[in-house]
């Protein structure tokens, strides 16, 4: 029998492929550090284009023709105006794309989001820039845009002075029905995080990542709800039936004792369930465990955690880079996205991409792993799988955070 020291898993992340088939891998021209924006467009000429946000400068976004998933082809790759910003998030809806701009410091520009006409994928044309810059703002970290009408985003604002500098981004709803003139129509922030609030600011976490918005998901099944992850503040269900005046319906947090950074909330409407993810943001498991949680959400006012997706022994992964939950496939309400309330696919940085069967939500079961070898030049010496998207054909796209670019897979379970 192999001893622990002889195990390939402890030697430096040998590839593990379990119930996935790798169809293609594209390093994206040497700019393979990818963020958490992935969206599939069927272009007017019939090509299937996946648009990818980059983790950091110099690149803005990359478009890849994945009509044949075995032969991806980069058709467009754009540059950011400067190095002190990033476009971490994007979404497409038809031939319209929204790209989030976040600056590294307050009061830099451009900070906000930009709308593009992508009817010709090789030549995206800017339609408008929605400015969110300000003395206390870094702009937009993440956005949600699926209906062609409203951009829901985690954003700062010129007129928003946070009680703590880390709490600069909150929920904003922007009307883009006239895409050349986006207009904010509503906002919500966690009480106590804005100067002038009549309650005390929330206590800081030992690893302080801010009480600020992250994912801002809205689905047509409940168009009057926003499922809002709020990093160190946990998550909120908002009533947005009056978009100008969002109201809190419920709140759930796992921290403390966990270490904050709640990232994504995905409701599974038919089942009365909710998936909530944390994000690992520290290397070497300093913030372990970061998990995918399953909540009983049959009563949206009383969310009950009932399970987490099982993780491998973290000591095996604690040697380099991040390890833990991050993005999951979000059942984006577009025809080009796969929808499932039985399977959860999530990225776990050096834990790769993992799939879970949640048919029994009390006992999620791991059914697939894709943990490729460290791509050439990986600064942590490991894969750092960052985001995942599944198209309506069931083709899985997943990206590395640093250098590995795009991996295209088939589910085999």
């Amino acid at each position: 029998m192999l001893t622990k020291d002889e195990s390939p898993l402890t030697k430096g992340y040998q590839p593990v492929v379990w119930n996935f088939k790798l169809l293609a891998h594209d390093m994206l021209g040497g700019f393979g550090g990818m963020g958490e924006g992935m969206s599939v467009q069927i272009a007017p000429d019939g090509r299937r284009i996946i648009w990818l946000a980059h983790e950091s400068a110099p690149k803005n976004f990359t478009a890849v023709d994945v009509s044949d998933p075995r032969k991806p082809k980069v058709v467009c790759q754009t540059d950011l105006p400067h190095a002190n910003m990033r476009s971490n998030s994007l979404e497409t809806c038809g031939n319209l794309m929204a790209v989030a701009y976040q600056t590294s410091k307050k009061d830099l520009k451009p900070a906000g989001f930009e709308l593009f006409d992508i009817s010709k994928p090789e030549n995206p044309k800017s339609i408008a820039l929605f400015d969110c810059s300000g003395p206390h703002s870094r702009g937009v970290h993440q956005l949600w845009f699926c209906d062609g009408e409203f951009v829901h985003c985690a954003s700062g604002s010129r007129d928003f002075v946070p009680t703590n500098p880390n709490d600069d981004q909150f929920y904003r709803c922007v009307d883009v029905r006239n895409p050349s003139k986006p207009v904010e129509i509503g906002r919500w922030w966690m009480p106590g995080t804005r100067q002038g609030d009549n309650i005390m600011p929330p206590p800081r976490h030992p690893i302080d990542k801010g009480y600020r918005a992250h994912n801002t998901n809205v689905y047509p099944q409940r168009g009057d709800r926003c499922y809002l992850a709020y990093i160190d503040g946990g998550m909120f269900v908002l009533d947005i039936s009056d978009k100008a005046n969002p109201k809190k319906i419920s709140h759930w947090t796992n921290s403390p004792p966990y270490t904050g950074f709640m990232h994504t909330v995905v409701p599974l409407f038919d089942r009365g369930l909710m998936l909530v993810t944390d994000e690992s943001t520290e290397n070497n498991c300093k913030d372990w465990p970061k998990l995918i949680w399953v909540l009983d959400a049959r009563d949206e006012t009383n969310l009950v955690p009932i399970a987490t997706c099982p993780m491998p022994d973290h000591r095996i992964y604690a040697q380099a880079g991040r390890f833990g939950a991050h993005n999951i496939h979000e059942n984006v309400p577009l025809p080009t996205a796969w929808k499932s309330d039985q399977i959860v696919l999530g990225t776990f940085f050096n834990g790769g991409l993992r799939a879970y069967d949640i048919s029994n939500p009390y006992q999620p079961k791991e059914v697939g792993i894709f943990m490729p070898p460290a791509p050439p030049g990986a600064p942590t010496g490991t894969i750092q799988m960052n985001d995942v998207f599944v198209d309506e054909r069931g083709i899985v796209y997943t990206v590395d955070r640093h250098v590995g670019g795009l991996y295209i897979l088939e589910m085999d379970f």
Partner: protein, 344 residues
């Protein structure tokens, strides 16, 4: 679970799977009489690209050292499982070995393996091994037998089949049969043996191997997925026979389940292996059913009908049970009007 958390995506048998094994670990069971050449075949498979990441469980000690794979000994031992029926006597050491593999894998003590090959002892009856994987209570939740392979020695195979009921049963229950050492036997002998094996098990392909060389697909391509492979009635030795029941119209699950429950209750010990695809009323894809003596595998609904031809076919390998008796039982249950109340 569907009562509390319903899903339109799931069918009455749960999540629809792409293939029968779903996400479970595929298992290849290699049977064969003493000296048939099982170890040589396995060794050749392990050095092939497809054999990488295979864990091996050997039913006998000291058989062979295998590089790049796990080698576990699991000596013969029989124990009585919970319900006390003699059909449930199975190898607890095999269960323990497989469970330990899972535990070690989760702890990172052993690498992630993608397949398990079990080499049985020469005298082993395959039925208890099949039972080991039949239910969640056993190992059916984690492992799935993709292939049951029987190895028959071209030189001594005839005499083994003549002299040992175990050897015959190994062939009768197999998904695939391999004749080994064909280079050491006269051509006529191999042909005669091949005909006999076909007669014993018309469902299984019979292929030759020289020096352990065998198409690796025999080890890894799941058996029983080709519905054309189900051959109609065949008479075997030892009172064993096989036959196929077919239904062109969709089946009510309750009719099928009740008929099988009756059959299992009355003659479970004589149902050596039952496997098939059902076109069940209300289901989107084929429902795969499998029984080994009185143990039933949980039914699995697949996502699609691969051949677009919806019909039900079930092969029965039985001892002392006639096709007409089983057919009459299904007709009788259907005539009683058993209707599904709320699915299975």
């Amino acid at each position: 679970m569907l009562d509390l958390f319903p899903s339109r995506e799931a069918g009455p048998f749960g999540r629809r799977l792409k293939r029968e094994r779903g996400a479970r670990i595929p298992v290849t069971v290699v049977t064969g009489f003493l000296g048939a050449g099982k170890t040589t075949l396995i060794r050749r498979f392990l050095v092939s690209p497809e054999g990488q990441g295979t864990a091996v469980i050997v039913n006998e000690y000291g058989t062979v050292g295998i590089d790049d794979a796990l080698l576990r000994g699991s000596a013969d031992q029989t124990v009585l499982l919970g319900n006390g029926c003699v059909c449930c006597i199975t190898r607890s050491d095999l269960q323990l070995a497989l469970r330990q593999l899972l535990i070690d894998r989760e702890h990172g003590v052993v690498p992630r393996f993608a397949r398990v090959v079990i080499e049985t002892s020469g005298l082993a009856d395959p039925a208890p091994i099949l039972q080991t994987f039949s239910t969640d209570r056993a190992l059916g939740g984690e492992f799935h037998i993709d292939v049951l392979l029987a190895v028959v020695d071209a030189v001594n195979g005839e005499s083994s089949l003549d002299g040992a009921a175990e050897a015959r049963k190994q062939v009768i229950l197999a998904d695939r049969v391999v004749i080994s050492k064909t280079d050491l036997a006269a051509g006529g002998d191999v042909e005669r043996l091949s005909r006999r094996l076909h007669k014993l098990n018309p469902r299984a392909s019979v292929d030759g191997a020289v020096g352990g060389a065998l198409d690796v697909e025999h080890f890894i391509v799941p058996a029983g997925t080709e519905r054309g492979g189900f051959i109609a009635e065949a008479e075997h030795s030892d009172g064993i026979s096989s036959f196929v029941l077919e239904w062109q119209q969709p089946l009510e699950w309750l009719v099928f389940a009740r008929a099988m429950e009756t059959l299992l209750a009355l003659r479970g010990a004589d149902l050596l292996r039952v496997k098939g695809f059902l076109d069940v009323t209300g289901c989107q894809g084929p429902v795969v059913v499998q029984y080994v003596q009185h143990l039933a595998h949980p039914p699995v609904e697949l996502q699609i009908w691969l051949d677009q031809k919806r019909s039900s076919r079930v092969v029965f390998i039985t001892r002392g049970i006639l096709e007409a008796q089983v057919r009459d039982l299904f007709v009788a249950v259907a005539n009683l009007g058993a209707k599904p109340a709320n699915g299975p």
